[in-house]
Symmetry: D2
């Protein structure tokens, strides 16, 4: 019998850092409409979390000329995993920047590097504070950090990022093999085995991270970041209220066949970053889950099982518009 050593592991999608040209409008969206708590704030940055998140933050909004994504941050399972991943990256000759504790307020030491092939800046960390919310909004339920407010965003859910079609297979393989993501559902061209999209997770969620081929042949573009709502009804209420507040709708509401969750894609009015509100879906507990295969011919139901139809490719409504930041610009920016 072989001894099983899982090596370092990712625990969850932890946080995203969004550059926004209009911080006030972005706060109006995430804080006032979606109901997220501002945990820490300066003139140029705000840290937020959903009412079900006990950790310090899952969203950082940073005033910025460009609507860029500074970092997609994942929490690792054990304190030593940050260093174990660092060793692994060095062994692969991938440049990684060590960020000291406090580089993000409330967070311990972290590692920053560019996802090979995909071009997205990833960060890995373990330590994170779990501050109590101010008493006036603190929940009586200890599993909630604060009372439900606004449209009831509970927590961050997942990231969906893009890379050039030609880099898909390699980039997806890398993140599975090095970071331990499991492929859950995917679209490919069977003849060529060319991957068009892959939904991957380290948790029983169908995806904590998705990689999708970019219709403009570019890497390093955000498709969307998703936040989780309790149920379908909350998502319909969100659609009602966001529509009435002139928030731009891209697509939705509708139900994905892939993941079986309800979706609504809108734009943060301050930055134009695409945000998905996401509710429901199935969980994977099978240890021998076989990734579900879709092809361009069959994926219609996978993208949209019912509701406002989502399409692949460069249609106006779902074209990516915001970019991930390159590694060195980030290092310079936040040093």
């Amino acid at each position: 019998m072989t001894i099983y050593n899982p090596g370092p592991q990712i625990a969850q999608a932890g946080a995203i850092t969004l550059g926004t040209p209009d911080l006030e409008k972005s706060l109006g969206f995430f804080r006032d409409l979606l109901g997220m708590e501002v945990v820490y704030e300066t003139a140029d940055v705000a840290y937020l979390r959903g009412y079900m998140e006990l950790t310090h933050h899952s969203l950082i909004l940073r005033r910025s000329d460009e609507a860029v994504v500074d970092a997609y941050s994942f929490r690792v399972k054990r304190p030593e995993d940050v260093e174990l991943f660092y060793n692994e990256l060095r062994a692969q000759e991938i440049e990684a920047i060590e960020l000291p504790a406090g580089h993000e307020v409330g967070r311990g030491e972290a590692l920053r590097f560019i996802w090979p092939g995909a071009g997205h800046p990833l960060e890995l960390y373990y330590g994170i504070d779990k501050p109590l919310a101010p008493e006036e909004i603190r929940s009586h339920l200890p599993s909630n950090s604060s009372k439900r407010r606004g449209l009831g965003v509970r927590r961050i859910d997942h990231f969906n990022v893009q890379c050039a079609p030609g880099d898909m297979n390699a980039a997806e393989k890398w993140v599975r093999e090095t970071l331990g993501f499991k492929r859950r559902e995917f679209i490919h061209i069977p003849e060529s085995q060319t991957l068009l999209a892959s939904w991957m997770s380290v948790t029983p969620q169908v995806h904590d991270l998705a990689l999708v081929a970019n219709p403009f042949e570019k890497s390093g573009q955000l498709h969307h970041v998703a936040f989780n709502l309790e149920n379908f009804s909350d998502l319909m209420t969100a659609a009602d209220v966001l529509k009435d507040h002139d928030v731009q709708f891209d697509v939705g509401p509708g139900k994905h066949g892939i993941g079986q969750a309800l979706y609504l894609y809108v734009r943060d009015p301050g930055s134009g970053h695409r945000v998905e509100l996401y509710a429901g879906g199935y969980l994977i507990f099978d240890p021998d889950w076989e990734a579900i295969e879709w092809t361009p011919n069959t994926v219609g139901d996978g993208l949209t099982w019912y509701g406002d139809p989502l399409q692949m490719g460069p249609d106006n409504s779902m074209a990516p518009t915001t970019n991930s930041a390159p590694l060195h610009s980030l290092a310079a920016l936040r040093a």
Copy 2:
């Protein structure tokens, strides 16, 4: 840096085997009302699964004079984990019966033993078939085994079992240390550290398994088995329909503060086993989750945050009525 070896691990609560004095009535409940699929059936036994379960079964109904629970079955993460657990039990001098592949239809080799202190028959297995549903009920969504029917039971959710108050601390410690369950929320008497209830999981669910002190000082009694519905609205519909079909309600609908899910406790009309319909709730992705502590003075909101109130102790509505089977009777029974 230490090498981390997780040892054998549980993947999920997989299935329960219920003895029922009236198999037809039990089928009327689980198949016709709740909408579960009968995957395999003889005159005296039926294997069922929810529409989101790809594996062979999560519920076995066995014709029996007594409304007993034959087994609480957990799936392990890797094929070798069955043997690794067997070795561990032997090292602890706990009797374990090896069950050959096919002992349960569609299932590989398994291990059966009694949970020390708690008195409940547990089974561990890895291999399980994933049969397609018959074409007329097969879903177009490959993540569903069949089309949604009846009240929309998606999958098994968790087991809640009881033991004598004096055995709580030891029994709970054993299942955490040997089987790897993590304590997520608990009730205890702070002065004496006496545990009254513990919600534990190996997945991000708040509990795959709960252990609750038995008000009649007995071990080996079922509190309930829970099945999962998509959302709160489905649970209200279930309440409507089950009430109109004269299914006995114990408590609910209401919302637990513990776990934050909606509950409805009813009785299988064929056996009297208590079944919880369960929807919503929060997921735990924090690797350093600190178990939430409740005391008899504070747990009111934990048991019922709102809705029909659940009480601890031997009140009529929630008194346990059905027993788990002792190990040797089971071995004899099914040999």
Copy 3:
């Protein structure tokens, strides 16, 4: 002070009679999927009602070569109103056929005539039986005729019919002035005052009857008949299940701005008649309600506030496909 005499009045949209080339398939849809009760049945006809309807039927399915609508039937408020309406029609020199009690099983005397301009066969009746459902499906709630089943159709909701654009203004005026419908919301071309659509009711519902301009310049075509579900969540469940049963979707789910209800337009697989599942919406209690005006430029939000977008005009998805029957063919048919 003048004495106020309301004259004869319509109480509600009572029933629709649909010709269907495949009665068995239509029953599979309305009875087995939507969950309606078959109250009366012969080899060639079936009478159905929703679980919240105490009256004998709201839907008649009649075996027929052509997918025609035989009648849109409205119940009047008082027994004498049938005769009062008859007198009014004669005064207007509109031909009306008197149908004896029992012409439709369970129904009293009725009046049949063609809606001038619109070309649709309308029937007016007062008397209708209120049979108890068979005991095995009878509800314990006396306001329900039967236990909720299938997708939970509660009752008929409204009719939406079409006429040639050039007849819209006159046809709509006639039904308001003679039958007492109130205009609640409408679309017109302000410059020419040309009506494109009108939602009208005799109850606090936003519409019991809608008249919409036909994109093919024809009168006498059905747009859809709507059945009512309890809430948004039920409609999403219906979408899930109908999609998985290969029922043809036209448009939806989505939310109308007009009426503020959730919609899902599908086709009866037996006949191709368009059926709307309809949930929620607002009620009008204001006695001085001013009809809400929409124009081609503003009506986008009115047709679809959010969700799968509904469009006006001859697009494939919403083109009318089934016709209302002419008066004399009906008289001959059912004499």
Copy 4:
């Protein structure tokens, strides 16, 4: 054929005026938590409406030492109905006070009198302004006065008031015969025909007004005023949030068999008046509806079909606590 003259008619339950000892706390509840719009405000009074009400107000909060109900106000169907009702009251030798236009801001002339037997101050009016909401909260949907906010109160729904058991039969008969309410469901003691509760309406709602026997043998006590939410899910969200804000729960959530709506009874923190949040239910379009009869032996399911159980009688949770104001005190107060 007899000519049918309906005489003056009530159109709807229009508004309630609540005295509150703590106006700020009451505003915190109705405006900030429930999400109602303050249309008009002085230091001592606030006029509010739900987001689906186009008329000026449905709730007046008046600073007052005592938590009294000043008026239950009904809108009539036609302008002349105010005077017609006045004549009718005089013919019955019932004192009625004429209130000039503007007595309530935004309202036309009204009539105030005490409901004989029941002891509650009723007001009848026709004219009411329909002001647009301020632009920043105005809805894009013309059938909504403002964007949905807070817990989404849409509109006032109904009044439930009490009188001494010995006065029930006469008081209920009076309001039916003089004001035209129809009995929809009722509880009585069959042997003595003693009425215990009656749900009555002038609209298709099951009740716009309910009269319930007071367990303390008193007349003139409020049981509750109800506000309407879109659906069951909104009511569950309201329960979640109100609980977390320490609003006192009396009973609920649960579903009434009578009316089939979901209920949640809480107390306005400023005044202690009981408020019901109310969602769903059935509508009555049958012109020959037969009132549904319940008895003390059968009404259990009627009061609570499922959920937190509602009981009749002087149990602590549902005992009435606030009084309606006598006629002359009101006249003096507001002259």
